[in-house]
Structures are given as C-alpha cells and as structure tokens.
Symmetry: C2
Subunit: 198 residues, 2 copies
Amino acid sequence: MREKIQSVDLAKCYLLLNHGPVTLVTTAFRGRRNVMAASWVMPLDFDPPKVAAVISGDSYTRELIEASGEFALNVPFRRIADKVFAAGNASGRDGDKFVPAGLTTFPAERIGAPLVYDCAAWLECKVIPEAHNQQRYDLFIAEVAAAWADPAVFSQGRWHFPDGARRTFHYQAGGVFFQTGRMLEPFHRAHMNPPEKD
Amino acid sequence: MREKIQSVDLAKCYLLLNHGPVTLVTTAFRGRRNVMAASWVMPLDFDPPKVAAVISGDSYTRELIEASGEFALNVPFRRIADKVFAAGNASGRDGDKFVPAGLTTFPAERIGAPLVYDCAAWLECKVIPEAHNQQRYDLFIAEVAAAWADPAVFSQGRWHFPDGARRTFHYQAGGVFFQTGRMLEPFHRAHMNPPEKD
C-alpha cells in the first residue's frame, strides 16, 4: 500500500481535514487495536501541525489512546460508508471490529496504530498531554507526525475527486451522510472569469 | 427575520455543525462588530451543548470575543460563498466588513453579536474561559445558549436541502469550497432496500 500513497507536507496536512470530513480513528496498544468513526475532529494549527479530536470517556478507543499516546485519523472514501457506519455502531471491547466491519489495514510509519485501506488520506498523530482538556471535555490535542494521501484524489495541496466513489464524506447523524459535493470557486470565478466586454 | 427561522432544541444543535461546514464567526462589543470565516470549528458536547473554535491570536474577532465573552456561529448558504470568501480576506480593523462584503444582519436573542442573513443555521455562544487553551492553542470553548435554523433546510433534527443554492458548504483553501453533496444513507439503504429475490 505504501507505494501507492504519497507523503503530504506536514505544513499542508490541515487541508486533509479542513472541509470537515468524517474520519476513522484507529488505535493500538500491546497487540490490541480499535477503530471508531469520529466527526468531532478539526485542525488546530498549521506548523507544527496539530489536530483536536473529541474521544468519549467511556470508549475503548479512549483507553487505547491514553495507553499509547497515539492515534491515526483516516479520511475514508465514501464507497466504504457502510463500513464506517458499522465501525461507528459497535464497541471494540466486544471483539476486534476491523474484520466484521470489513476494514483492512496497513502499518503506519511513525506510530503503532494501523491505517485503513480505501481511504483518501491519513494523519499519524501523537497526543500532547493535556489532562484538564481530556478529563473535562474529552478533548485530545495531538501533533501530526506524518500525513499521507492517495494521489488520485489529493496532490499538490488540493483535493481533486475523480469520481463519486472516491470522495470524502460528512456525517449528519442516524446513519445519514453527505458526500463532499461540487467544487465552488468563488474567488477564482470572480478573478479569472471576468464578464466579457463586447 | 426572527419569524422565518425556528429555534433548534439545544440537545440537537450539534447537528448544525456535525458535517463540518464553513462558518461565519460574528462578534460585537460596545458598538464595534466583526465577522470572519472559520472552518476550524466543531461540536464538543451534546448537553449542555458546547463547541470548540480556533480564533487566531492577532485577529480583530479575537479581540472582540475576549472583550465580550460571546460569539455567534453562522452556517452560510452556498449562494453567499463569494461573500464568505470576501469576509475571510479582509480585516475588520480596516473598517466594518459587513457592508463591503454584502452581509446583512439581524439581532441575536441571547448575545450581542449579530446574526447573518442568508444562512442555514445559527448558534449563539458564550465563552467558557479557558486561559491556557486560548493562549497556547488559540482554542476557544463555548456553551451554546441558543440555536436557530431555517426550516426550509433543517427541521426535526435533520438537514433536507431543497436546492443547490440553499446548501451548506465546506472550505478547502485558496478560495475553493465544496458544497455539501448528495445524501448517503448506508444504514437505511442496507435495511430498507434489501436485494429483491426473484
């Protein structure tokens, strides 16, 4: 898999989350691993890049993040929306969720958490311990140690979705998502396509 | 305007931000007011509802939020993407941005910051002071005091965009946005439309 994806410049990796896609949070610690769907995730800083994510206090993912100090944010393709929904509706405490959800993985480079196939982008994150935020708000702040994207959909700092299946998507609630839709370029339109004079 | 919008149950107001749309952050303090575009915004808790937002340290918006302890998150319709871009590319210190950007406003109910017309939803927010987060990460945590939505696009806890103009949208970078696209219902599809047997 590694040879099919491209490293993303860390100073540009906020672009992978800027548009608010749903993510899969993957974790691992001493032979245990887990995956959960998360929408309450955002960039927090450019360089060094940081992210903020809400990880609920009673989740198995939370336990593995606090034990390992690491997690990955995977930005899934909409063609695996069913699997994302499945991963979001079971607990890893009841057994490994990857296989029943149909999610396969490959190794990360800088952290122990696995990365999920059929995603558009990946951010390998190391937690910056902030006990007050974690305990009071379930809020985790992390620095991005490595970032990757599928060059079919993201390259040179820009998303360029080639088809409907390989798009990111966004969570509403209750099993309903929205795919990332049509590109709007108000600035470019205004500046690059001025009204023609006759 | 007030009669055209509906109050959103506070326990459900996270749904207004769950899918990661771009927002306009509005602020006011003692006769001064400002508006900025922001994508680094997310829900933080359900009930009482909280949000997290990154407000850069040198911005006029930051100054007004720290002075007033309040801000509103406006979720704009994609038909005003040009205005959102304009608001995101000027500083309020150089003069009122609303009028040049073509943004008109109406009063909020619980806070002093104005709300922007031509939006899908609004969240009136009161800052929970967290000096460490604000100073170290430009991160503001706030409780939502009131929430509103245009019933043409959001009602009974669900988005239902009627057309292309009245959709939310998401920011990439460099003046490029993506509109909120087609609805995907993997859970509903799987359960409500099983393959027909012949």
